[in-house]
Protein backbone atom coordinates (compact mmCIF):
# COMPACT_ATOMS: atom_id res chain seq x y z
CA UNK A 1 0.00 0.00 0.00
CA UNK A 2 2.32 2.74 1.26
CA UNK A 3 5.60 3.61 -0.42
CA UNK A 4 8.26 5.18 1.78
CA UNK A 5 10.36 7.18 -0.66
CA UNK A 6 13.09 8.34 1.72
CA UNK A 7 14.84 5.68 3.75
CA UNK A 8 18.27 4.48 4.68
CA UNK A 9 19.94 1.14 5.24
CA UNK A 10 22.50 0.34 7.87
CA UNK A 11 23.80 2.25 10.85
CA UNK A 12 25.34 5.60 11.67
CA UNK A 13 28.22 6.21 14.05
CA UNK A 14 26.33 9.19 15.49
CA UNK A 15 23.85 7.20 17.58
CA UNK A 16 22.92 3.74 18.79
CA UNK A 17 20.50 1.87 16.56
CA UNK A 18 18.76 -1.02 18.36
CA UNK A 19 18.28 -3.10 15.23
CA UNK A 20 19.37 -2.35 11.67
CA UNK A 21 18.42 -5.71 10.20
CA UNK A 22 16.40 -6.02 7.04
CA UNK A 23 14.17 -8.55 8.79
CA UNK A 24 13.07 -6.07 11.45
CA UNK A 25 12.68 -3.35 8.86
CA UNK A 26 10.29 -5.56 6.91
CA UNK A 27 8.38 -6.44 10.09
CA UNK A 28 7.95 -2.74 10.91
CA UNK A 29 6.91 -2.03 7.33
CA UNK A 30 4.32 -4.82 7.50
CA UNK A 31 2.91 -3.51 10.77
CA UNK A 32 2.45 -0.05 9.26
CA UNK A 33 1.25 -1.10 5.80
CA UNK A 34 4.42 0.04 4.04
CA UNK A 35 4.74 -2.04 0.93
CA UNK A 36 8.03 -0.72 -0.38
CA UNK A 37 10.89 1.44 0.85
CA UNK A 38 13.39 3.31 -1.31
CA UNK A 39 16.67 3.57 0.54
CA UNK A 40 20.10 5.13 0.28
CA UNK A 41 22.69 2.98 2.07
CA UNK A 42 24.24 4.85 5.00
CA UNK A 43 27.66 3.48 4.12
CA UNK A 44 27.38 5.09 0.67
CA UNK A 45 26.52 8.42 2.29
CA UNK A 46 29.54 7.98 4.56
CA UNK A 47 31.92 7.70 1.61
CA UNK A 48 32.00 3.89 1.42
CA UNK A 49 30.31 3.57 -1.95
CA UNK A 50 31.12 -0.07 -2.75
CA UNK A 51 30.34 -1.34 0.75
CA UNK A 52 27.10 0.59 0.81
CA UNK A 53 26.00 -0.66 -2.57
CA UNK A 54 26.77 -4.24 -1.60
CA UNK A 55 24.61 -3.85 1.53
CA UNK A 56 21.91 -2.30 -0.58
CA UNK A 57 21.82 -5.13 -3.07
CA UNK A 58 21.73 -7.63 -0.22
CA UNK A 59 18.74 -5.82 1.26
CA UNK A 60 17.01 -5.79 -2.13
CA UNK A 61 17.48 -9.54 -2.44
CA UNK A 62 16.57 -10.35 1.13
CA UNK A 63 13.40 -8.25 0.91
CA UNK A 64 12.21 -9.85 -2.33
CA UNK A 65 12.46 -6.48 -4.03
CA UNK A 66 10.51 -4.53 -1.39
CA UNK A 67 13.57 -2.45 -0.55
CA UNK A 68 14.66 -0.47 -3.59
CA UNK A 69 17.73 1.71 -3.82
CA UNK A 70 19.05 5.17 -4.50
CA UNK A 71 22.55 5.25 -5.96
CA UNK A 72 24.47 7.88 -4.01
CA UNK A 73 26.53 10.45 -5.90
CA UNK A 74 29.50 12.21 -4.30
CA UNK A 75 30.64 15.23 -6.33
CA UNK A 76 34.05 15.19 -4.67
CA UNK A 77 34.84 11.55 -5.48
CA UNK A 78 36.28 11.20 -9.01
CA UNK A 79 34.95 7.67 -9.54
CA UNK A 80 31.49 8.37 -8.19
CA UNK A 81 29.74 9.24 -11.45
CA UNK A 82 30.88 6.02 -13.14
CA UNK A 83 29.87 4.04 -10.07
CA UNK A 84 26.41 5.58 -10.06
CA UNK A 85 26.07 5.03 -13.80
CA UNK A 86 26.86 1.31 -13.37
CA UNK A 87 24.65 1.03 -10.29
CA UNK A 88 21.67 2.39 -12.18
CA UNK A 89 21.87 -0.70 -14.36
CA UNK A 90 20.67 -2.82 -11.43
CA UNK A 91 16.91 -3.51 -11.19
CA UNK A 92 17.14 -2.45 -7.54
CA UNK A 93 18.12 1.11 -8.44
CA UNK A 94 15.27 3.53 -9.04
CA UNK A 95 16.86 6.90 -8.36
CA UNK A 96 19.89 8.95 -7.37
CA UNK A 97 20.55 10.42 -3.91
CA UNK A 98 22.62 13.53 -3.35
CA UNK A 99 23.49 15.29 -0.11
CA UNK A 100 25.02 18.76 -0.49
CA UNK A 101 25.48 19.16 3.28
CA UNK A 102 27.41 15.91 3.73
CA UNK A 103 29.45 16.68 0.62
CA UNK A 104 29.90 20.29 1.82
CA UNK A 105 29.24 21.38 -1.73
CA UNK A 106 26.46 23.91 -2.43
CA UNK A 107 23.55 22.47 -4.38
CA UNK A 108 24.11 24.92 -7.25
CA UNK A 109 27.82 24.12 -7.61
CA UNK A 110 29.17 23.12 -11.05
CA UNK A 111 30.28 19.80 -9.63
CA UNK A 112 26.70 18.58 -9.44
CA UNK A 113 26.09 19.05 -13.17
CA UNK A 114 27.24 15.55 -14.24
CA UNK A 115 24.68 13.83 -12.02
CA UNK A 116 21.85 15.98 -13.33
CA UNK A 117 22.92 15.06 -16.88
CA UNK A 118 22.99 11.41 -15.89
CA UNK A 119 19.55 11.62 -14.29
CA UNK A 120 18.19 13.24 -17.43
CA UNK A 121 19.77 10.58 -19.61
CA UNK A 122 18.52 7.67 -17.49
CA UNK A 123 15.18 9.34 -16.65
CA UNK A 124 15.46 8.74 -12.93
CA UNK A 125 14.52 11.11 -10.11
CA UNK A 126 17.03 12.74 -7.82
CA UNK A 127 16.35 12.79 -4.09
CA UNK A 128 18.35 15.44 -2.28
CA UNK A 129 18.72 16.40 1.34
CA UNK A 130 17.40 19.92 1.82
CA UNK A 131 17.44 22.07 4.97
CA UNK A 132 17.32 25.61 6.32
CA UNK A 133 20.32 27.56 7.51
CA UNK A 134 21.13 26.20 10.97
CA UNK A 135 22.78 28.03 13.86
CA UNK A 136 24.31 24.79 15.16
CA UNK A 137 25.03 22.83 11.96
CA UNK A 138 26.69 25.22 9.49
CA UNK A 139 26.87 22.73 6.57
CA UNK A 140 23.10 22.90 6.20
CA UNK A 141 23.60 26.12 4.25
CA UNK A 142 24.72 24.02 1.27
CA UNK A 143 21.29 22.41 1.00
CA UNK A 144 19.00 25.43 1.11
CA UNK A 145 16.05 24.94 -1.25
CA UNK A 146 16.72 28.08 -3.29
CA UNK A 147 20.13 26.72 -4.34
CA UNK A 148 18.45 23.94 -6.32
CA UNK A 149 16.76 26.41 -8.66
CA UNK A 150 19.69 26.50 -11.05
CA UNK A 151 19.56 22.83 -12.03
CA UNK A 152 15.82 22.50 -11.64
CA UNK A 153 15.45 25.18 -14.32
CA UNK A 154 18.13 23.74 -16.58
CA UNK A 155 16.83 20.15 -16.36
CA UNK A 156 13.02 20.42 -16.40
CA UNK A 157 12.64 16.75 -17.26
CA UNK A 158 14.52 15.61 -14.15
CA UNK A 159 12.30 15.22 -11.10
CA UNK A 160 13.91 16.56 -7.95
CA UNK A 161 12.60 15.48 -4.57
CA UNK A 162 13.53 17.95 -1.84
CA UNK A 163 14.06 15.62 1.08
CA UNK A 164 12.71 16.98 4.37
CA UNK A 165 10.99 19.80 2.41
CA UNK A 166 13.61 22.24 3.59
CA UNK A 167 13.83 20.97 7.16
CA UNK A 168 12.56 23.86 9.24
CA UNK A 169 10.17 26.78 8.87
CA UNK A 170 12.24 28.96 6.54
CA UNK A 171 13.21 25.92 4.50
CA UNK A 172 9.60 24.73 4.26
CA UNK A 173 8.54 28.12 2.91
CA UNK A 174 11.41 28.16 0.39
CA UNK A 175 10.88 24.55 -0.67
CA UNK A 176 7.18 25.12 -1.19
CA UNK A 177 7.94 28.22 -3.26
CA UNK A 178 10.34 26.27 -5.47
CA UNK A 179 7.73 23.54 -5.96
CA UNK A 180 5.12 26.15 -6.89
CA UNK A 181 7.45 27.61 -9.51
CA UNK A 182 8.70 24.35 -11.02
CA UNK A 183 6.59 21.35 -11.96
CA UNK A 184 9.58 19.01 -11.60
CA UNK A 185 10.07 19.71 -7.89
CA UNK A 186 8.57 17.35 -5.30
CA UNK A 187 8.63 17.54 -1.52
CA UNK A 188 8.90 14.74 1.01
CA UNK A 189 7.99 14.45 4.69
CA UNK A 190 11.06 12.56 5.88
CA UNK A 191 13.04 13.44 8.96
CA UNK A 192 12.24 15.18 12.23
CA UNK A 193 10.08 17.79 10.48
CA UNK A 194 6.88 17.92 12.46
CA UNK A 195 5.61 21.49 12.46
CA UNK A 196 1.92 21.71 13.25
CA UNK A 197 0.08 22.03 9.94
CA UNK A 198 3.08 21.03 7.81
CA UNK A 199 1.33 18.44 5.64
CA UNK A 200 -1.67 20.69 4.98
CA UNK A 201 0.65 23.64 4.26
CA UNK A 202 2.72 21.76 1.69
CA UNK A 203 -0.40 20.45 -0.03
CA UNK A 204 -1.91 23.94 -0.14
CA UNK A 205 1.29 25.38 -1.59
CA UNK A 206 2.41 22.70 -4.03
CA UNK A 207 -0.52 20.35 -4.49
CA UNK A 208 -1.05 16.85 -3.12
CA UNK A 209 0.38 15.37 -6.32
CA UNK A 210 3.84 16.68 -5.43
CA UNK A 211 4.18 15.47 -1.87
CA UNK A 212 5.77 12.12 -1.09
CA UNK A 213 5.65 10.08 2.07
CA UNK A 214 9.13 9.55 3.46
CA UNK A 215 10.36 8.69 6.94
CA UNK A 216 14.18 8.71 7.05
CA UNK A 217 14.06 5.17 8.42
CA UNK A 218 16.50 3.78 9.85
CA UNK A 219 17.17 7.13 11.52
CA UNK A 220 13.61 8.19 12.19
CA UNK A 221 10.63 6.02 13.00
CA UNK A 222 8.02 6.02 10.19
CA UNK A 223 5.16 6.10 12.71
CA UNK A 224 6.00 9.75 13.35
CA UNK A 225 5.21 10.95 9.84
CA UNK A 226 2.53 8.36 9.09
CA UNK A 227 0.37 9.57 11.97
CA UNK A 228 0.61 13.13 10.64
CA UNK A 229 -0.60 12.11 7.18
CA UNK A 230 -3.37 9.75 8.32
CA UNK A 231 -4.81 12.41 10.64
CA UNK A 232 -4.21 15.40 8.35
CA UNK A 233 -7.11 17.65 7.33
CA UNK A 234 -7.00 16.43 3.76
CA UNK A 235 -9.21 14.30 1.55
CA UNK A 236 -8.62 10.55 1.45
CA UNK A 237 -7.68 10.99 -2.21
CA UNK A 238 -4.90 13.42 -1.29
CA UNK A 239 -3.63 11.04 1.38
CA UNK A 240 -3.49 8.17 -1.11
CA UNK A 241 -1.53 10.39 -3.50
CA UNK A 242 0.97 11.25 -0.79
CA UNK A 243 1.29 7.75 0.62
CA UNK A 244 1.47 5.84 -2.64
CA UNK A 245 0.33 7.16 -5.99
CA UNK A 246 2.91 9.93 -6.40
CA UNK A 247 5.78 7.52 -5.76
CA UNK A 248 4.37 4.92 -8.13
CA UNK A 249 4.26 7.52 -10.87
CA UNK A 250 7.59 9.18 -10.11
CA UNK A 251 9.60 5.97 -9.88
CA UNK A 252 7.65 4.13 -12.61
CA UNK A 253 6.74 1.38 -10.17
CA UNK A 254 3.95 -1.11 -10.55
Amino acid sequence: MIIDAHCHLGVSPQFFLPDASVGTMLRVMDRLGIERAIAAPMASLSGQAEWGWREGLQAYGESGGRILLYAVFDPLAPASLDFVRRSLGEPAAVGIKIHPSLAQCPADDDRWRPVWELAADRRVPILSHSWSISDYNPVQKYSQPALFARYVREFPKVSLILGHSGGRYEGHVAAAALARQHANVFLDLAGDCYSLGLVEYLVAQAGADRILFGSDLTWIDPRTQLGMVLDAELSDFDKVCILRENALRLFCLR
Binding site: L17, D19, Y136, L196, G197, D221, T224, G227, L230
Partner: protein, 275 residues
Protein backbone atom coordinates in the same frame (compact mmCIF):
# COMPACT_ATOMS: atom_id res chain seq x y z
CA UNK B 1 -10.22 2.59 -0.06
CA UNK B 2 -7.37 0.99 1.91
CA UNK B 3 -6.38 4.34 3.39
CA UNK B 4 -9.77 4.73 5.06
CA UNK B 5 -9.17 1.52 6.97
CA UNK B 6 -5.76 2.76 8.14
CA UNK B 7 -7.15 6.15 9.14
CA UNK B 8 -10.02 4.62 11.07
CA UNK B 9 -7.78 2.08 12.78
CA UNK B 10 -5.37 4.80 13.91
CA UNK B 11 -8.14 7.11 15.12
CA UNK B 12 -9.82 4.24 16.98
CA UNK B 13 -6.64 3.46 18.86
CA UNK B 14 -6.13 7.13 19.68
CA UNK B 15 -9.67 7.43 20.99
CA UNK B 16 -9.24 4.32 23.11
CA UNK B 17 -6.21 5.86 24.86
CA UNK B 18 -6.32 8.32 27.76
CA UNK B 19 -3.86 11.03 26.78
CA UNK B 20 -2.32 13.47 29.24
CA UNK B 21 -0.03 15.93 27.51
CA UNK B 22 2.82 17.05 29.76
CA UNK B 23 4.34 19.56 27.35
CA UNK B 24 2.09 22.23 25.86
CA UNK B 25 2.59 25.93 25.44
CA UNK B 26 0.26 28.90 25.34
CA UNK B 27 1.06 32.42 24.26
CA UNK B 28 3.32 31.32 21.42
CA UNK B 29 3.64 34.07 18.84
CA UNK B 30 2.60 33.41 15.22
CA UNK B 31 6.11 34.05 13.89
CA UNK B 32 7.66 31.02 12.20
CA UNK B 33 4.50 29.01 12.58
CA UNK B 34 2.69 27.30 9.71
CA UNK B 35 -0.49 27.07 11.81
CA UNK B 36 -0.50 29.60 14.67
CA UNK B 37 -2.43 28.74 17.81
CA UNK B 38 -2.45 31.77 20.06
CA UNK B 39 -5.48 31.77 22.40
CA UNK B 40 -6.51 29.52 25.28
CA UNK B 41 -9.72 28.63 23.47
CA UNK B 42 -7.84 27.60 20.33
CA UNK B 43 -5.42 25.55 22.43
CA UNK B 44 -8.14 23.63 24.23
CA UNK B 45 -10.13 23.10 21.02
CA UNK B 46 -7.12 21.99 19.01
CA UNK B 47 -5.92 19.60 21.70
CA UNK B 48 -9.41 18.10 21.85
CA UNK B 49 -9.36 17.66 18.08
CA UNK B 50 -6.35 15.40 18.58
CA UNK B 51 -8.04 13.54 21.43
CA UNK B 52 -6.09 15.21 24.24
CA UNK B 53 -8.37 16.27 27.07
CA UNK B 54 -5.87 17.07 29.81
CA UNK B 55 -2.55 18.85 29.67
CA UNK B 56 0.19 20.62 31.59
CA UNK B 57 0.70 24.02 30.00
CA UNK B 58 3.45 26.62 30.22
CA UNK B 59 3.24 30.25 29.14
CA UNK B 60 5.64 31.37 26.42
CA UNK B 61 6.06 34.76 28.09
CA UNK B 62 7.63 33.01 31.07
CA UNK B 63 10.36 31.65 28.82
CA UNK B 64 10.72 34.46 26.30
CA UNK B 65 10.19 37.57 28.44
CA UNK B 66 9.74 37.31 32.20
CA UNK B 67 9.04 34.18 34.25
CA UNK B 68 7.12 36.11 36.90
CA UNK B 69 4.75 37.71 34.41
CA UNK B 70 4.33 34.55 32.36
CA UNK B 71 3.69 32.37 35.38
CA UNK B 72 1.16 34.85 36.74
CA UNK B 73 -0.76 34.81 33.44
CA UNK B 74 -0.57 31.04 33.40
CA UNK B 75 -1.99 30.62 36.89
CA UNK B 76 -4.81 33.08 36.21
CA UNK B 77 -5.82 31.17 33.08
CA UNK B 78 -5.66 27.63 34.44
CA UNK B 79 -7.44 28.42 37.70
CA UNK B 80 -10.89 27.82 36.19
CA UNK B 81 -9.93 25.34 33.51
CA UNK B 82 -10.44 21.89 35.00
CA UNK B 83 -8.50 20.04 32.33
CA UNK B 84 -5.33 22.14 32.49
CA UNK B 85 -2.47 22.27 34.97
CA UNK B 86 0.61 24.42 34.95
CA UNK B 87 4.34 24.16 34.39
CA UNK B 88 5.97 27.21 35.96
CA UNK B 89 9.24 28.53 34.58
CA UNK B 90 11.78 29.15 37.32
CA UNK B 91 15.01 31.07 37.62
CA UNK B 92 17.20 30.98 40.74
CA UNK B 93 16.65 34.57 41.69
CA UNK B 94 17.36 35.48 45.27
CA UNK B 95 15.10 33.78 47.71
CA UNK B 96 15.81 32.28 51.13
CA UNK B 97 14.91 28.69 51.90
CA UNK B 98 11.69 29.52 53.72
CA UNK B 99 10.45 31.76 50.93
CA UNK B 100 11.39 29.11 48.36
CA UNK B 101 9.24 26.51 50.01
CA UNK B 102 6.32 28.93 50.43
CA UNK B 103 6.61 30.04 46.85
CA UNK B 104 6.57 26.50 45.50
CA UNK B 105 3.62 25.57 47.73
CA UNK B 106 1.81 28.62 46.46
CA UNK B 107 2.44 27.46 42.89
CA UNK B 108 1.13 24.00 43.76
CA UNK B 109 -1.97 25.56 45.26
CA UNK B 110 -2.38 27.36 41.92
CA UNK B 111 -2.37 23.99 40.05
CA UNK B 112 1.29 23.96 39.07
CA UNK B 113 2.48 20.35 38.88
CA UNK B 114 5.88 20.77 37.23
CA UNK B 115 8.61 23.36 36.89
CA UNK B 116 10.56 23.96 33.73
CA UNK B 117 13.96 25.63 33.61
CA UNK B 118 16.05 27.22 30.87
CA UNK B 119 19.55 27.62 32.31
CA UNK B 120 21.24 28.29 28.98
CA UNK B 121 18.74 30.83 27.66
CA UNK B 122 18.35 32.51 31.05
CA UNK B 123 22.09 32.50 31.76
CA UNK B 124 22.49 30.59 34.98
CA UNK B 125 24.05 27.35 36.11
CA UNK B 126 22.22 24.14 36.89
CA UNK B 127 24.74 23.21 39.51
CA UNK B 128 24.51 22.62 43.21
CA UNK B 129 26.13 25.97 43.99
CA UNK B 130 23.79 27.76 41.57
CA UNK B 131 20.51 25.98 42.09
CA UNK B 132 21.04 23.77 45.15
CA UNK B 133 18.44 25.30 47.51
CA UNK B 134 15.87 25.19 44.72
CA UNK B 135 16.60 21.54 44.03
CA UNK B 136 16.25 20.79 47.76
CA UNK B 137 12.88 22.51 47.87
CA UNK B 138 11.66 20.82 44.68
CA UNK B 139 12.76 17.43 45.96
CA UNK B 140 11.01 18.02 49.29
CA UNK B 141 7.76 18.52 47.39
CA UNK B 142 8.60 16.01 44.63
CA UNK B 143 7.71 18.67 42.11
CA UNK B 144 9.06 17.37 38.77
CA UNK B 145 11.83 19.36 37.16
CA UNK B 146 11.70 19.55 33.35
CA UNK B 147 14.59 20.79 31.24
CA UNK B 148 15.29 20.75 27.51
CA UNK B 149 18.39 18.85 26.43
CA UNK B 150 19.57 21.99 24.63
CA UNK B 151 19.27 24.11 27.79
CA UNK B 152 21.76 22.23 29.91
CA UNK B 153 24.42 19.55 29.74
CA UNK B 154 23.96 15.87 30.29
CA UNK B 155 26.59 16.07 33.01
CA UNK B 156 24.43 18.58 34.88
CA UNK B 157 21.37 16.39 34.43
CA UNK B 158 23.26 13.40 35.83
CA UNK B 159 24.54 15.46 38.75
CA UNK B 160 21.02 16.59 39.68
CA UNK B 161 19.67 13.04 39.40
CA UNK B 162 22.45 11.82 41.65
CA UNK B 163 22.32 14.57 44.27
CA UNK B 164 18.50 14.62 44.48
CA UNK B 165 17.34 11.03 43.99
CA UNK B 166 13.74 11.71 45.03
CA UNK B 167 13.31 14.54 42.53
CA UNK B 168 11.72 13.44 39.22
CA UNK B 169 13.90 14.92 36.47
CA UNK B 170 12.26 15.04 33.04
CA UNK B 171 14.39 15.79 30.01
CA UNK B 172 12.55 17.15 27.00
CA UNK B 173 14.10 17.36 23.57
CA UNK B 174 12.62 20.08 21.33
CA UNK B 175 14.05 21.35 18.08
CA UNK B 176 17.27 19.36 17.81
CA UNK B 177 17.70 15.65 17.38
CA UNK B 178 17.50 13.94 20.74
CA UNK B 179 18.45 10.86 18.75
CA UNK B 180 22.13 11.86 18.72
CA UNK B 181 22.19 11.60 22.52
CA UNK B 182 20.69 8.18 22.97
CA UNK B 183 23.96 6.60 24.06
CA UNK B 184 23.92 9.10 26.92
CA UNK B 185 20.31 8.90 27.99
CA UNK B 186 20.36 5.11 27.90
CA UNK B 187 23.04 5.31 30.56
CA UNK B 188 21.03 7.83 32.54
CA UNK B 189 18.03 5.50 32.47
CA UNK B 190 20.27 2.71 33.69
CA UNK B 191 21.84 4.62 36.57
CA UNK B 192 19.16 6.97 37.85
CA UNK B 193 15.67 5.78 38.77
CA UNK B 194 14.50 9.40 38.87
CA UNK B 195 15.53 10.15 35.27
CA UNK B 196 12.56 10.52 32.90
CA UNK B 197 12.23 11.38 29.21
CA UNK B 198 9.34 13.24 27.62
CA UNK B 199 8.66 11.62 24.26
CA UNK B 200 7.56 14.25 21.72
CA UNK B 201 11.02 14.12 20.08
CA UNK B 202 11.85 10.50 20.94
CA UNK B 203 11.53 9.74 17.24
CA UNK B 204 14.51 7.52 16.54
CA UNK B 205 13.65 4.31 14.69
CA UNK B 206 12.58 1.66 17.24
CA UNK B 207 13.69 4.02 20.01
CA UNK B 208 10.59 4.10 22.20
CA UNK B 209 10.02 0.36 22.03
CA UNK B 210 13.66 -0.39 22.82
CA UNK B 211 13.61 1.87 25.87
CA UNK B 212 10.48 0.13 27.17
CA UNK B 213 12.03 -3.27 26.54
CA UNK B 214 15.15 -2.34 28.50
CA UNK B 215 13.87 -0.06 31.24
CA UNK B 216 10.09 -0.47 31.40
CA UNK B 217 7.55 2.21 30.64
CA UNK B 218 7.32 4.04 33.98
CA UNK B 219 9.72 6.85 33.15
CA UNK B 220 8.47 7.84 29.72
CA UNK B 221 6.20 10.87 29.70
CA UNK B 222 3.79 11.71 26.90
CA UNK B 223 4.22 15.25 25.63
CA UNK B 224 3.53 16.88 22.28
CA UNK B 225 5.29 20.28 22.37
CA UNK B 226 2.00 21.68 21.07
CA UNK B 227 1.48 24.05 19.23
CA UNK B 228 4.97 23.85 17.77
CA UNK B 229 4.66 20.23 16.74
CA UNK B 230 1.94 17.90 15.45
CA UNK B 231 0.64 15.76 18.35
CA UNK B 232 0.31 12.77 16.03
CA UNK B 233 4.11 12.39 16.08
CA UNK B 234 4.35 10.85 19.57
CA UNK B 235 0.79 9.52 19.49
CA UNK B 236 1.36 6.98 16.75
CA UNK B 237 4.60 5.91 18.44
CA UNK B 238 2.43 4.84 21.36
CA UNK B 239 -0.55 3.40 19.48
CA UNK B 240 1.40 1.45 16.85
CA UNK B 241 4.43 0.17 18.71
CA UNK B 242 5.26 -3.20 20.20
CA UNK B 243 3.92 -2.07 23.55
CA UNK B 244 1.52 -3.77 25.93
CA UNK B 245 -1.77 -2.08 26.76
CA UNK B 246 -0.40 -1.32 30.22
CA UNK B 247 2.76 0.26 28.80
CA UNK B 248 0.73 2.37 26.41
CA UNK B 249 -1.46 3.58 29.27
CA UNK B 250 1.56 4.39 31.42
CA UNK B 251 3.24 6.43 28.73
CA UNK B 252 0.10 8.12 27.39
CA UNK B 253 -0.83 9.59 30.75
CA UNK B 254 -0.49 7.22 33.69
CA UNK B 255 3.09 8.21 34.48
CA UNK B 256 2.43 11.95 34.52
CA UNK B 257 -0.70 11.46 36.65
CA UNK B 258 1.32 9.41 39.11
CA UNK B 259 3.97 12.13 39.36
CA UNK B 260 1.24 14.72 39.93
CA UNK B 261 -0.33 12.62 42.68
CA UNK B 262 3.05 12.39 44.39
CA UNK B 263 3.30 16.19 44.33
CA UNK B 264 -0.04 16.50 46.15
CA UNK B 265 0.87 13.86 48.70
CA UNK B 266 4.24 15.51 49.38
CA UNK B 267 2.56 18.88 49.69
CA UNK B 268 0.09 17.48 52.22
CA UNK B 269 2.88 15.80 54.19
CA UNK B 270 4.75 19.08 54.21
CA UNK B 271 1.67 20.90 55.51
CA UNK B 272 1.32 18.34 58.26
CA UNK B 273 4.95 18.84 59.24
CA UNK B 274 4.54 22.61 59.29
CA UNK B 275 1.69 22.27 61.72
Amino acid sequence: MWVQEQIESYRRRKTATEWFDAHCWIGVGPRSSLRPVTTWEQTVQQLARYGIRRAVVAHALARDYDPTTGNRLLLAAIADRESLWGAAVLTPDDEDQVSLGKRLKSLIAGKVRMVRIFPRSHNWSLSDWGFGPWLDALEELQLPLAVWHTETTWADVAAVCQSHPRLPVIVEGPNRKLLYHNRTYYQLFERFPNFHLEIHNLVGYLGLDDLVRRFGSNRLIFGTYFPHQDPNVPMMLVTHGELSVADQANIAGGNMLRLMTEVIQSDQRSDATDH
